[in-house]
Amino acid sequence: MNSFNMKKFLFKLSFYVVAVIIVLLFLGTYADGNTDDNYRHFTGLRPSNMILGDSRGAQAVVPDILDEKIKGREFDNFSLNIADSPYGTIYFEAIRKKLNPETKDGIFIVTVDPWNVSVPKDSKNEKEYSENRSALADMHFYDKVPNYEYLLKHYPRSWFNIYREREAVGRSSTYLHKNGWMEVSVSIHPDTLKVREAGKIQQYRALASQQKISKYRIDALENIIRYLKNKGTVYMVRIPVSHGIMEIEKAYSPDFSEVMKTISKKNNIKFLDFASQGKHYIYTDGNHMYKESSKVFTAQIADSIVADKKKSE
């Protein structure tokens, strides 16, 4: 090899490489709540007060309402969705990485439903669980803005889309706030709701036949609770759903609330079970709470927490 050849080669190549990197760095700065449904969970300051769970929790618990009602605290909703954040070791590790290590007196709202403690019946081992393919499984940084690690690993589209679909152009129908709240803006016309709920019921019926409650997940849930108890106060919350979805859940796991109650007693935490209050709220699809209902519901959780805190003082 002629070393001059190599130098010239690397020198000329470097112009293209640097140009590409500069463009990517620039486009990455536009990443926001429109980028995708999870990006913002990996950005911002590490929180001391968290909401955990799946997409039900992501949409139904609004941190702004909690911040307003429980003074002096800033909440972060670290609930992703059923594929990414069911209770398990991967979610547990992610919570450790996300949580502010200095936390001593945090408040943690752990939302539970039968699906985030279930696994597919046909899975042979833990490696087959969906969260192994989640961003939670391979991310190191949870507090970078912009988070290039996330974009490189988990944004499969052209980065020009980050710029084209940025918040300044208009919020997407699934907008992830900085504090992790997933704001879903869809039509709530009764006819549309009916169609969406029918689809969801069909989906959950199929899911119920394919899933089973898992000891692995329940153990992980308890491990998370024990870990968080050392960092503050933990509240377990069961979020209400529509009548149709609740019927499926009752058939799938009739004693779910009882099991959760037992776990909460065992770990000496409060269980706020709203399962019976389904009719008080509006759902976009029977499963996820409509954003305005979410605010009312969150206020109810906040009131319960405030009351509990007062009682314990």
Binding site: M6, R157, S158
Partner: protein, 470 residues
């Protein structure tokens, strides 16, 4: 670790620098290459690394034994090598298919199905071993005495996952000799990688969701939509596989190696024989040498009938090579049958070179007819079962073929036209972006344009290549 992943970019960049630092020390360079081969393979699945190393060791030992012996002893070692190589491939790739088919045929309860994964690249590295044994047997090759060179030949990472299938005669001498890096070769290798990345990330990955949607729901779609799906699949698999091959060849060239060409602008083939001379060249030339030619010699007394039989058997084998599925067998058979008119009209070996800047109407007609035949064959390639294949053909050859198709996107059509344009522009060159003959400014325009296309239209989620599964 896909070619188009960040992990591979980092891996290759570091290895490239280290590799050329030791440019004066061939042994060190080869040891580094071997380590890189095994890191690359182990990154996929370290469990099968032992199989790869073990197979290489056995092939190395048997190769020397074949050379040292004569007569029946030599034959014994050749046969042993072939049995081990083909047996391993059969065990991992075909055992379940045969057991299940046998049990189904005779209504026997099957308890023998194996729960084993297919080791990555096994079809490709097994064919390298087989060609090594056969070349030694036919005295076309001397055995490799340096184990590092031999192990590198079997596990050479740029062509490990999906070929090209290199013969020992091509790669082993290069592993024994000092490699040279030149600016021109390096720049041209990067051009080839760039074009390969464009074809994969932009063209193939943009088409994949459309064809998947069509083939998974063909029974609810019109004949015209399914037909459009097969045409799109032609461009998808071409962009995917030739894109992969361009990248593989480009990375090998950056390390100073010349490996087998795998595609020669097959979209411009004017008959099916020409298509197969331009498509997956390393497999077809491998089978021509080790299967077709011996068969032709065997059937030489039967004239055209013998030739037809040899071609059909060769193509059925191409079908089976793709995997244990009846549809693949029929895919091969159909392509074999396509040859019959060419044989009967003595047009099998007639080469029609496209020379003008624009094709003639007759050339366009020939090309379209050839591609139509290829697209019809691809129904068997994409259909997982015979029932699906029959269902897809049923949709295509129904009255709904004359309805307006769904899923036709201007963007996709534009990308296809772009690939055809670039290929046409360079159809007489070594690869699709061999543009060193152009002025520097034009070249830079091409680079920047393709880089922009990748960044703007690239779909980065689907990293895997179609031929990895084989």
């Amino acid at each position: 670790m896909q070619f188009n992943s960040i992990a591979f970019t980092l891996f290759f960049s570091l290895f490239f620098i280290l590799y050329w630092v030791f440019r004066e020390k061939l042994k060190t360079q080869n040891i580094l290459l071997l380590l890189a081969n095994y890191v690359f393979y182990g990154f996929w699945d370290w469990r099968f690394l032992a199989l790869l190393i073990g197979s290489s060791g056995l092939a190395y030992f048997l190769g020397n034994k074949i050379y040292e012996n004569e007569g029946s002893a030599k034959k014994k070692y050749v046969n042993l090598g072939l049995i081990v190589a083909i047996g391993t491939l059969f065990y991992f790739k075909y055992f379940n298919f045969f057991i299940e088919s046998f049990a189904e045929l005779f209504g026997i309860k099957n308890t023998l199905t194996l729960n084993v994964a297919l080791p990555l690249g096994i079809s490709f590295y097994t064919f390298r071993m087989i060609s090594y044994f056969l070349d030694l047997k036919n005295n076309k090759l001397k055995p490799e005495t340096d184990p590092v060179s031999f192990f590198n030949y079997i596990a050479f990472f740029p062509s490990m996952l999906s070929g090209p299938i290199d013969r020992g005669g091509l790669l082993l001498p290069q592993l024994r000799n000092k490699r040279i890096f030149t600016f021109e070769a390096g720049a041209d290798a990067l051009r080839q990688i760039l074009y390969g990345a464009f074809k994969k990330l932009v063209v193939a990955n943009s088409i994949t969701p459309i064809t998947q949607g069509i083939f998974q729901n063909y029974d609810h779609l019109s004949g015209s939509t399914v037909a459009v799906g097969t045409v799109l699949f032609l461009f998808e698999i071409y962009a995917d596989f030739s894109g992969y091959s361009d990248m593989a060849i480009g990375f090998a060239r950056l390390l100073g190696f010349k490996i087998t060409k795998n595609f020669a602008f097959p979209l411009f083939a004017q008959n099916i024989a020409e298509f197969w001379r331009k498509w997956h060249i390393s497999l077809t030339s491998w089978l021509t040498e080790y299967v077709f030619t011996p068969l032709v010699i065997h059937f030489r007394d039967y004239g055209k009938k013998g030739l037809i039989a040899a071609i059909i058997m060769n193509f059925v084998l191409i079908g089976i090579w793709h995997g244990p599925r009846y549809t693949f067998i029929l895919f091969g058979l159909l392509h074999g049958l396509y040859y019959i008119p060419l044989i009967l009209t003595n047009k099998l070996n007639k080469k029609k070179k496209l020379t003008g800047n624009f094709p003639t109407f007759q050339e366009i007609g020939n090309i379209l007819l050839t591609m139509l035949m290829v697209c019809l064959g691809f129904v068997l390639f994409v259909a997982p079962t015979l029932t699906d294949a029959v269902g897809m053909y049923g949709r295509i050859f129904s009255l709904s073929l004359f309805s307006v198709p769904q899923f036709v996107q201007i963007k996709i059509l534009g990308l296809i036209v772009l690939v055809i344009f670039i290929d046409w522009l360079n159809k007489d060159q070594e690869h699709g972006l061999e543009i060193s003959r152009f002025r520097p400014l034009t070249r830079r325009f091409f680079y920047l344009f393709l880089i922009f296309m990748i960044m703007y239209y690239g779909v980065f989620g689907n990293g895997s290549f179609i031929y990895e599964q084989f």
